[in-house]
């Protein structure tokens, strides 16, 4: 069953992936089975994805991340929030990020 991202939730990179900068290209490499669909899958992220990834520190909610990033982009906070949610949804679908349980 597909999980849906919640703006008030906190997410962090899964411990089952490794993220590496390979000569200026940001690469996410699954470690365990069940991430990505194929034996040889890896993922590359563009600069926007990278910015969001760097903010997924397991401390801030997506809403907070969106608000912070909206200061850096010429876009309304609501729009940035939606973009962040879209990115994290895709990562969540592939088990590249996990939700941090509320304390």
């Amino acid at each position: 069953m597909q999980k849906h991202v919640i703006l008030e939730s906190i997410y962090k990179p899964s411990e089952d992936v490794v993220a590496r900068d390979v000569q200026g290209e940001f690469v996410i490499i699954p470690i365990t089975s069940g991430i990505g669909d194929g034996q040889d899958d890896i993922f590359t992220m563009n600069d926007t994805g990278r910015v969001v990834w760097d903010h997924l520190d397991g401390k801030r909610t997506l809403k907070e991340i969106g608000l912070e990033l909206s200061g850096n982009y010429d876009a309304a906070p609501g729009q940035v929030e939606q973009d962040v949610a879209g990115i994290v949804q895709e990562l969540l679908n592939k088990n590249i990020v996990v939700e941090v349980p509320a304390v």
Binding site: V22, G36, D41, I42, I87
Partner: protein, 392 residues
Amino acid sequence: MTAEAYLVRRNVNQPSSGKISPPRLLGRLDMILTERCNNNCVHCYINLPSGDLDARKKELSTDEIKNILKEAVTLGCMMVRFSGGEPLLREDFGELYLFARRQGLKVAIFTNATCITPDLADLFARIPPKEKIEITVYGMKQESYEAVTCVPGSFAKAWRGIHLLQERKVPFVVKGALLPDNKDDVDEFEAWAATIPWMEKLPGYSMFFDLRCRREEGKNRSIMAVRATPENGVKFMTRRKEEFLKDQKQFCSQFMRPSGDKLFSCGSGKGGGCVDAYGGFQMCMMLLHPDTVYDLKQGTLQDALERSFPACRNTTAVNKDYLQRCARCFLKGLCEQCPAKSWAEHGTLDTPVEYFCQVAHAQARFLGLIGEGEKAWEVVDAEQRIEKFVNS
């Protein structure tokens, strides 16, 4: 801010996506984890006894290997290949494997499968290598298999290992070594190989065996005794004639020209290399000439790749025989002659290896590129001959 195409799935073997970046200093690293092997195959170029304590004592420690892997990652390396000897003989293999994967490296493994335990197979299933495990199969029957490995019980162990991978659906491919003792198993081997879901083509075979990479004369004589003769080797290679010719036409259209006096016309030492079991960094897995091996205990992968290997790659041939023959020979692409083979056979970098020369000439005769008794380095219309063959 836009989320468009922020995450792209790609195959790890594909080149990077769109960005113009210089080639990586280190794309792939070979690591010979040990020269020891639990088999004792007569044709093998690198198999010390599994209980060789001297060899074991000299081998890199777990931490030394981890440090090399860490540096490899900083240089952009995406894949490490663990080979041997038999790499699974190392007691810390699981630890090294996990470490490499946790560094974000894809791991290729060359093995005879005899040391694959249920625990190790479980590990491969849970944390996949992201590269198909490559297993050499020495025969389909106990008698033929163990005639090659010279170790009683090795057949059963290898098949147990293979079944453990099959049960867990861990991707693997198989390859063969063609020897007098197992040549009758070929059809059965290929029929079985065709049932392996991860085999994308027929298995490859070694049959033009390399001599010992550390130049042991006694063992070299045994290897020479089981090498395929050039004629028999070509007969085997061309048993599916149409397929062979199609492949060769494609190959010859790209790779057939004399290399001149430059010894390293291959890619060895460029974007990769091979760490031996004791911390020597070689330009390729076979090349152990002391002038070309870099001591990692005194330096770094980066230094070798930036300074030492490029200097070696500029080496030119001085051997008159080489300059007369190999440097002018248009069969360069078909011939296995290279500094590593010259080292193994003659202890130099630039001595023609008669055996590989004969094999290349036998292939060229089959393809119609040269006639009976012709020497390829004396041919003056090589380009026209290649063009005629490619367009035939």
